[in-house]
């Protein structure tokens, strides 16, 4: 009895947080199956083993995401991201007309730390790159491009904000970085070892949620 009284006293003395009568139900940022696509400018920086310097250029980026919900604050998705530039070169002396498309196909997690639309993104997956550099003219006078592809893995991190425009739709602002390891790239008689493409982009997208 003495112990029971002591326990009751302890329970009564323990401070308890005041609970509001009507707790607001936190809004889910995205529900069920959601999708998102968007565009924006980007910057790519190419480094390779044995290269004395890195080269960088700007280009257009686009992305497509589709996913589901893990919890009230965390969603999971699959993201396709691509950066295309028309002034690519492995060295600053490379001729104009070269093109490069680099991208990732990644599993991503979006974490919404609060009730607002701010989220942080992290992801990992496969990476790809396709590089074309104009070479000799073909028999018909057309320019033949040396094209090479590379594949490997990529990481992505970013931050974004969902701006609700209705219950079903949101405009989404993104800033993200992508680091992709593409392996060796062979164009013409040139062998470029261990290419790493780092991409940065800002974009605006439409989210269906």
């Amino acid at each position: 009895m003495k112990h029971a009284l002591a326990l009751m006293t302890l329970v009564l003395l323990c401070p308890r947080p005041a609970l509001p009568q009507h707790l607001p139900t936190p809004e889910r940022h995205r529900r069920g199956l959601w999708g998102e696509f968007g565009f924006g400018p980007g910057y790519v920086r190419i480094a390779c083993s044995g290269c004395t310097d890195v080269v960088g250029t700007t280009g257009g980026t686009s992305y497509l995401r589709i996913g589901g919900v893990i919890s009230r604050n965390v969603v999971i998705g699959f993201e396709l991201f691509s950066l295309l530039d028309n002034a690519f070169g492995f060295t600053p002396q490379d001729s104009a007309g070269a093109t490069a498309e680099t991208g990732t196909a990644a599993i991503i997690i979006l974490w919404y730390p609060g009730r607002h639309g701010l989220y942080f993104k992290g992801g990992v997956g496969a990476a790809f790159g396709q590089f074309s550099i104009p070479a000799d003219s073909g028999s018909g006078g057309t320019v033949v491009a040396d094209t090479s592809t590379g594949g490997g893995m990529g990481l992505t991190f970013g931050v974004g904000w969902d701006i609700a425009i209705s219950r079903k739709f949101a405009l989404t602002a993104n800033a993200a970085s992508f680091v992709t390891a593409l392996g060796d790239v062979v164009t013409g008689n040139r062998h470029v070892d261990d290419v790493i493409a780092s991409m940065y982009n800002i974009s605006i997208g439409l989210t269906i949620r």
Partner: protein, 440 residues
Amino acid sequence: MTAPLIAILLAVQFDTTPRPVMAVGQTVLINVFVNRVDAWAFQQDWARTGTRAWSRNLRMGWEWDEDAFPTNMFAHPYHGALYFNSGRANGLDYFRSVPLAFFGSWSWENFGETYRPSLNDWFMTSFGGITLGEVFHRVGATIRDNRAGGMTRFLREVAALPVDPIGGLNRLIRGEWTARGANPPEHDPKDFVLRLGAGARFARRFSRDQNVMTTGTFLLDLLYGDQVGQPYTGPFDVFNVRLVLTDYGGLNALRASGRLFGANLNNPHGRNRHMLAINQRYDFYKNPAQSVGGQSVEIGINSRWPIGSKGYAIRTAVFGDGVLLGAIDAPGTGLGERNYDFGPGVGARWEFALERHGARFLRVFSQLEYIHAVSGASADHLVDFGGIEAAFPIARGLGLAASSTVFGRTSRYSDGRPRDQRDYPEARLMLIWWKIGFGQ
């Protein structure tokens, strides 16, 4: 009644409130401490960083480094575990501690060294640090006992330091080395199997070699939780670790695999059990003929079929995996002083085991991994690893264990070099001691 009352009062001393600012601060502090020790105590030029080096690193970005295999594949993941556990030791859960591993490694690569940041380091430190960090955090919590006192308590705290130094130091600062209270949930995995073994290892450098090399070997096997018996409660609620040491080359193998997600595939109260699992995996194998390792995520099914009523059962596992970044040596591979390749890949493994009360006494397994090199040679590597293990009880908690494994590797080069193939057979004979807490 008195005992629970005291427990409630004392538990207050073990504050589990998340302290994210403290966690980030400790991550930065780890980098500053390691950098200054290297610069001041070891006089390392690469540690004498400054704004010029930071600016160049940020401008130039990632490259591949040429460090030795154990440095990249073990030391860096261990370093990453310190970052991760600065979060776990400050009340953050698994997922909230993950960014700390990436942040700690990224900031070290850019600001902690004069060298350009290394992409393989970022991968291995972050992903390996998360896997080893969570394993170390839970093993540390199991070794420590908040209810113990006196010399036993002190020795437990000291014993946990090598696996979870950040957790131990945080506890020391907070006075938790002596305070008594309730243990965290991860202290007691409910089901576990611990095996320690020592004996001889017989190996040939290649199958065709006639000379058999005999060395000493030590084995630690830990099964924490039951892959099919326990419902999923959170990341690494179930994991397994295998550590193999030899007196020829030291660390021979370290493998850790923890459940990130699990779901019942049939009636959880049924006799036969099948569970879907997504595991995060860390692999490190190094022997005189092969070096291979990496960070992976695997998905598959664990099953258990009981036989009779005396605790016997068949266990199977079938998994497919994606290698986020692996490393493997082969002739002509590597970059500069580095003699191995880095690359992502895919693979699969299966396992068949006979067990009693959770302890496997016969195990047959095989694993196949494909690695596409993105740094080093222009090559694709195929790794296969398989074998059989058996354990025979000779007394309560003691037994003899024998195993035979073959480690094979085939490398195909795109630059016209001939295909290279090698395999590495080995056998072990050990005296083992085990402790089992299963189905209790």
